[in-house]
């Protein structure tokens, strides 16, 4: 037996081994050439419309039904969706920029408010000419979409994206925790004092393994909703002129027409404003008294599980949370949503997202056709079949979407815009990444020490924001 093996093995010379190794390397290189050369990237090397979205391959597959419907309408346009995994929007934009640097940019990118002005300033092509050209087709869309969402995508008088989904920072509350504390559903116009009292009642009812208020340290849903409610922000908010072409065409009769502009501008820091101090001091008080958690750095990936296991009383979040809570086992009656508490105002913060055409797009007309189709009710129903977000179309935020999942007051989501038309987008100038870093790095310090530390942290934030805005202006 041994001899039988030894014979052929002895004949297996070093030269043969090297040859086999060489052949193996060549074979592997040939086999993986599409990956090595990047030709397997959707849309590369052909004239397909390449669309980048943030998400997984499963997210890309979920869009396939929309692509199929689009292809039936436009058989001449081939569409390929490339899902790019990222920790957050900032990470996603970085990856898109890397593709731009590599000379392989996508034609269309799904961009959230966080990156809207970065893209508008440097990468995206305005939609004005297309919206004007196809005005008759677009009337129905704009009739169904609140102007606040559209205005978030105006930049220096031009429109760069059509909002497809959005979320406001409403206040979720755990109905079990509220009941244990003897609390009723809060009033629509509850104040920040009422909110604090509710937290204190929950704290009293449950002393251990429970946080009455959980919030995260990021641009959406962190400190900003409190600043907006207190009629301020950490950046001075102004508006561009222009944009009348859109408002007069599509929102001439809207009650909030006079509020609309050519887009938001955040040109100066505002962390030294007294109301900013007041808002941070309020949060510092919640943390100090054990009513609110210190804001975790980064996102709140553990939040759904903690909320669903009744260990969190309240937290700000948008309609995107409903499906997650449902999947985590929460019944529609176990949680509910209310407007964010009122302070000087009850202005909310929101974020929205939609497709942007890249300046480098091979075929901008085809890209516009995709965007126009994606904004249709048919496409949006295919892309958002469940409450994983709040659709930008008012008509889609209906009983059917939340059936069997809750919350009872799902109407709160869209009513936020109707009831508070000054509700504004995430403060995200083109320097958003630097601005977000400046905010996040100082927030923890503001709420974890005494008053003098709070003042120091806000001074540091002001300095960092000045630097961030000056650097890339």
């Amino acid at each position: 037996m041994t001899g039988a093996f030894n014979g052929p093995l002895r004949e297996f010379s070093r030269r043969t081994a090297l040859g086999a190794l060489g052949a193996g390397i060549i074979g592997a290189t040939v086999a993986s050439w599409p990956r090595l050369s990047g030709t397997d990237i959707p849309g590369r090397g052909d004239n397909s419309l390449s669309i980048a979205i943030m998400g997984t391959a499963a997210d890309a597959a979920a869009r396939q039904r929309a692509i199929d419907a689009f292809t039936r309408l436009h058989p001449e346009i081939r569409v390929k969706v490339q899902a790019i995994q990222a920790v957050d929007w900032k990470d996603f934009f970085t990856k898109i920029l890397t593709m731009v640097a590599a000379g392989t940019p996508p034609d269309v990118v799904y961009v959230a408010t966080e990156g809207a002005q970065l893209f508008a300033e440097k990468l995206a092509h305005p939609l004005d000419e297309y919206v004007r050209r196809d005005a008759s087709d677009m009337v129905e869309f704009f009739n169904d979409v609140h102007p606040s969402l559209v205005e978030a995508f105006m930049y220096k008088g031009s429109l760069y994206q059509l909002p497809l989904d959005w979320n406001a920072a409403n206040m979720y509350y755990n109905t079990t925790a509220f009941a244990q504390a003897g609390l009723e559903r809060p009033a629509d116009d509850w104040t920040h004092i009422d909110f604090r009292n509710s937290l204190a009642a929950m704290r009293k009812a449950r002393t251990a393994d429970f946080t009455p208020y959980y919030w995260t340290n990021r641009l959406f849903g962190g400190v900003v909703p409190w600043l907006y409610a207190n009629d301020t922000s950490f950046l001075k908010e102004t508006r561009s002129t222009g944009g009348d072409w859109l408002w007069d065409s599509f929102y001439a009769n809207d009650p909030s027409r006079s509020l609309r502009s050519g887009g938001y501008q955040w040109l100066e820091p505002n962390a030294d404003d007294d109301r900013v101090f007041e808002s941070f001091d309020y949060l510092r008080g919640l943390v100090k008294d054990g009513l609110g958690v210190r804001p975790e750095e980064g996102g709140g990936s553990s939040l759904v599980g903690l909320f669903a296991s009744n260990r969190i009383g309240t937290t700000p979040a948008g309609g995107y949370w409903v499906q997650g809570l449902h999947e985590a086992g929460m019944g529609g009656n176990n949680f509910d949503v209310q407007f964010f508490p009122r302070w000087k105002t009850q202005r909310h913060q929101f974020g929205t997202a939609g497709y942007a055409i890249m300046k480098t797009a091979k075929d901008k007309d085809a890209a516009w056709e995709w965007i126009k189709f994606s904004s249709s009710r048919e496409a949006m129903e295919l892309i958002f079949p469940s409450p994983i977000t709040t659709p930008a179309r008012r008509s889609m935020v209906n009983e059917q979407l939340y059936a069997g999942k809750g919350p009872a007051h799902w109407k709160t989501f869209y009513e936020t815009l109707d009831r508070f038309p000054t509700t504004g987008p995430i403060p995200a100038p083109p320097q958003q990444a630097a601005v977000e870093t400046a905010l996040m790095k100082n927030v923890s310090l503001t709420v974890s020490g005494d008053e003098s530390q709070l003042k120091q942290a806000l001074a540091s934030m002001q300095r960092d924001l000045e630097l961030a805005l000056r650097r890339q202006s």
Partner: protein, 318 residues
Amino acid sequence: MSTTTPPRERPRQTAGRAAPAKTPAGNGRRGQRWLAWIFLAPTILGMGLFTLIPIVASVILAFFRWDIISAPTFVGFDNFSEVVQDPTVRVSFLNTIIFVVVAVVLQLGIALALAVMVQEKMPDWLRVFFRSAFFFPLILSAASVSIFMRYLFNEQFGVVNWFLSLVGIPAVPWLTTPGGSATVVILVYVWQNFGFSFLLFIGGLASIPVETYEAASIDGATGWRKHLHVTLPLLSPTTLVASVMAIISALQVFDQPYVLTRGGPGDSTRTAVMVIFESAFQRLEFGQASAIGVLLTLIIMAITAAQFRLSKRFVFYQ
């Protein structure tokens, strides 16, 4: 020299070099040389493409302003002067140096203590177990370890605080205060990296001759004195290598503070490499990122050179 000795004929030279003899042996050497180059080619190519060219490009880029999208513009030393004046960069370098000092001392101290313990007083099977166990964290991804640790050290819901509460210690704000977050970052980093130094020390200890310890015992040295006067001096070459590697690695720390604390609270755990990453990939200031990278490289080179210079005094070779 005898006059009868014929003068030695100088070999003919072609362009100043001796012509190689055309012998079968010479052909063999040439063949071997080609084979050597073939085997070296992937490494040389890799080094050139992924190390040398990026280094040169980075140095060049340090003199330009570039945001990926627009064309680069030459700005001379502006990036360096801006970087030096930037308080965040200054703090991050200070943090890095503090981190290096604390983490390296802990890493080497723990590794040495455990190596001595494992090498001396363990049955073989337990020794093998500990060698594997201590090395195990090193093969884990730093990012995944850090994500896991975030949950462990969560102030409200973390297991660490739960254990502390069992003995009556109130919840510690591990990741939300400057002191707490720096402590966690150092602990996690040291836990994950001491295994490498541990293995180096195990190797070093194994190379110390038993006779040296026997001679020390005869001279009356007891356990602790034996380590002080025999183990430490004879382990000094290993200590030098371990410390150089630990310092270079610690100067480049990124994953743990980035995932655990994102550099916060404030700038308390922001490190030099984090600032490079943030400048380049978040703020799109590739010129400034390169300038910081160049400065960090110079610091690493200076520290390493100083270590080798100092080593002449403290390192003993058998």
